[in-house]
């Protein structure tokens, strides 16, 4: 979701971008510190007996990603005041966090590869597991995420994969491969959409070619580009946001989709992870090194990992949560109706984690520009 929220709110995003630019322009500050120390055990000890009512927490999260009444619930349970600020995209929150000035944030929600980048920039507090007993609720697989093995600097909040979402009544043979999107059968020509956010725009071609989602090789990317250009004439359009609606209306019959966004509860709409494999994306919570309320920040994360609160995300935004206790408690009919919720952690982990590519990430930006600009 993280990747897509912004297009749905185009005007808001434009406004926020303007503001973000103005704010960070004032902040100034270079943040290039590839060699900066990553979070390590060297950080100060936290007091497990801290009186949390004396602390307050400010978090930044995507709109609609946590319960509306979260501040009240946190206040009731932890006696801590919670202030929720919002960001529409990873890029916007990264802009804020890396602008140099203290943002006053204690906890931020970002996708895994961005958590990795923030950690490499030395901006994250290591997670103190002794303050988060609810970590025990997580699936063991959630501690094996390649951008952060052992949850050293981030705690996963939601996770999922990307696949093909399609109308089983409008295609003759059901898709099984990324090539079905890239080179669709006649009945699906001009009725296919692919995503526009860089890594996902490339994903179908990357996987169809048997490459790694984290490839940086120019030779690989040239092949990916050629494949994407070949696919372009058969596309309806690029779409990160409304692909579900387009399927329901029949404007599209096959789309590249994030699992939770494929409306499988509708008749005839199905989701498949292509045989060539796919990605594993994770949205995480991180504690900022600049936070003055680190005990409360950890208590907040612990509170989120409570099966009831964490289950809210699965039940309301239909994203899988890496919390076994929460997933086990989901209503049976909800899981039955929404097929992607049935994927197991090991099926998810078969997908390849998207990691931060550092300087090379601009190669994907360039690829997306070249493909979109091409006639």
């Amino acid at each position: 979701m993280s990747r897509a929220r912004y297009t749905r709110r185009l005007p808001a995003a434009a406004l926020v971008a303007g503001l973000a630019l103005a704010v960070s322009a004032c902040g100034g500050g270079s943040t290039d510190s590839a060699a900066a120390p990553a979070a390590s055990a060297s950080s100060a000890q936290l007091d497990p007996n801290m009186d949390l009512s004396k602390q307050s927490i400010t978090i930044s999260v995507w709109p609609g990603y946590t319960p509306e009444d979260l501040p009240k619930r946190v206040k009731d349970k932890l006696k801590t005041d919670l202030k929720v600020t919002l960001h529409d995209t990873n890029e916007i929150i990264m802009g804020k966090l890396t602008a140099g000035a203290d943002t006053g944030l204690d906890v931020a929600f970002v996708s895994g590869q961005y958590a990795q980048a923030l950690n490499e920039a030395g901006l994250l507090e290591p997670i103190h597991p002794e303050l988060i007993p609810n970590l025990a609720n997580l699936y063991p697989e959630a501690k094996e995420l390649s951008y952060d093995k052992g949850n050293v600097f981030s705690v996963p909040y939601t996770w999922g994969t990307t696949g093909i979402c399609y109308r089983s009544d409008l295609v003759k043979t059901e898709p099984t491969s990324w090539n079905d999107i890239l080179n669709p059968p006649d009945e699906a020509k001009k009725k296919v959409t692919m995503m526009t956010t860089e890594r996902w725009l490339a994903l179908p071609a990357v996987k169809a070619l048997g490459l790694s989602v984290n490839t940086k090789s120019d030779e690989d990317l040239a092949k990916v580009k050629a494949k994407l250009l070949e696919a372009k004439p058969n596309l309806l359009r690029y779409d990160d946001v409304d692909f579900g609606k387009r399927l329901t209306s029949g404007e599209a019959v096959m789309v590249e989709a994030w699992d939770g966004w494929c409306p499988t509860s509708e008749k005839n709409i199905k989701f498949v992870v292509p045989k060539e494999g796919s990605d594993l994306w994770v949205d995480t919570m991180v504690v900022l090194k600049s936070s003055k309320n680190k005990e409360a920040a950890h208590a907040f994360i612990n509170f989120i990992l409570d099966p009831e609160i964490h289950g809210w995300a699965a039940e309301n935004i239909l994203y899988k949560v890496p919390n076994k206790a929460a997933m086990d408690k989901l209503p049976k009919d909800l899981v039955e109706k929404n097929v992607p919720l049935q994927m197991t952690p090991s099926q998810l982990l078969a997908g390849e984690s998207i990691i931060d590519l550092g300087e090379d990430s601009t190669k994907f930006t360039r690829l997306a520009t070249e493909v979109q600009a091409a006639k």
Binding site: P11, T98, L236, Q372, A373
Partner: protein, 291 residues
């Protein structure tokens, strides 16, 4: 005698100083606005264009010209040329539609003039995005137009997601900005000049070419600028009506700031766009001075 001249001179300079001061007081709200909201941001954009992107998207304060050399890369040049092409097409068509419209409105009786002008401005009372989404509802595959055509046994057609739809969206959005300055210019025209031309034996076409058009040229140029400038930098219409299948400079700039987090290159692109627009504005100033 001498002393009186001197005191006269100081009195004059004092009164000039107070006049300047008075002007400054009245100008200060506008000047403050310009400095805070235009000059400072512009200075930031200009300075960023000479720095490098940080690994995580910040700005590294190391002077470099690489953002400008990158502008010359064919993929970016292509996008700029495409934007020029689409914006020019929109402007020319808007002129061809807008001129007769403005001409007819200018000839209407006063009461109907007001009605017509309100009708021209009316779309602006609805949010821009809502109007663009309305086009999607009309033109999409299963949309209203295709449904209606289907009843007649035609179609379905693919109206959306191509450059033609982008141009249509641009014309639709900015046509009023063409009509209004044209109307103002045509309205100002002295009807006696046209009569004189007719009396001297010119046919209507000749009168139009030799009298009406040259005298309304400043309106034509202003209208073209009003349509071209926002069309050239637009990013919403290519995204929504073009389906992201072809992009314009506006999209490129937005993507640098929002997706690639490459502010220095985004700034360089912004300056390139500004440069094109400044050239056009100078042309406009030049043409209106001549008129």
């Amino acid at each position: 005698m001498t002393s009186s001249t001197v005191s006269g001179a100081t009195a004059k300079s004092r009164s000039r100083r107070s006049r300047v001061l008075g002007r400054l007081v009245f100008l200060s709200p506008g000047l403050t606005y310009l400095i805070i909201l235009m000059l400072i941001p512009l200075a930031l954009v200009i300075s960023y264009a000479f720095f490098r992107r940080g690994r995580f998207g910040g700005v590294i304060y190391e002077l470099t010209g690489e953002n400008f050399t990158r502008l010359l890369d064919p993929i970016y040049l292509d996008v700029v040329l495409d934007s020029l092409k689409l914006a020019t097409a929109a402007t020319v068509i808007a002129l061809l539609v807008g001129y007769p419209t403005a001409y007819v409105i200018a000839q209407l009786p006063a009461k109907w003039k007001t009605v017509a002008l309100v009708a021209i401005v009316l779309p602006f009372w609805t949010n821009f995005l809502v109007r663009i989404y309305a086009w999607i509802v009309l033109l999409s595959g299963p949309g209203l137009v295709n449904t209606a055509l289907g009843k007649l046994g035609l179609g379905p057609f693919e109206f959306l997601y191509n450059q033609g739809t982008i141009v249509t969206g641009l014309i639709y959005s900015y046509l009023p900005l063409m009509v209004l300055p044209l109307y103002a210019a045509i309205e100002k025209l002295d009807p006696q000049l046209r009569e004189a031309s007719a009396n001297l034996g010119a046919r209507p076409a000749r009168t139009f070419a030799s009298v009406t058009l040259p005298l309304t040229l400043p309106g034509v140029v202003t209208g073209c600028m009003f349509v071209f400038v926002p069309s050239f930098g637009n990013f919403v219409i290519p995204e929504l009506l073009g389906g992201g299948r072809s992009i314009m400079v506006g999209n490129l700039i937005r993507d640098q700031f929002l997706k690639a987090r490459d502010w220095p290159f985004g700034s360089a692109l912004t300056l390139a766009l500004l440069a094109v627009l400044i050239v056009l504005l100078l042309l406009q100033a030049w043409s209106s001075r001549r008129a």
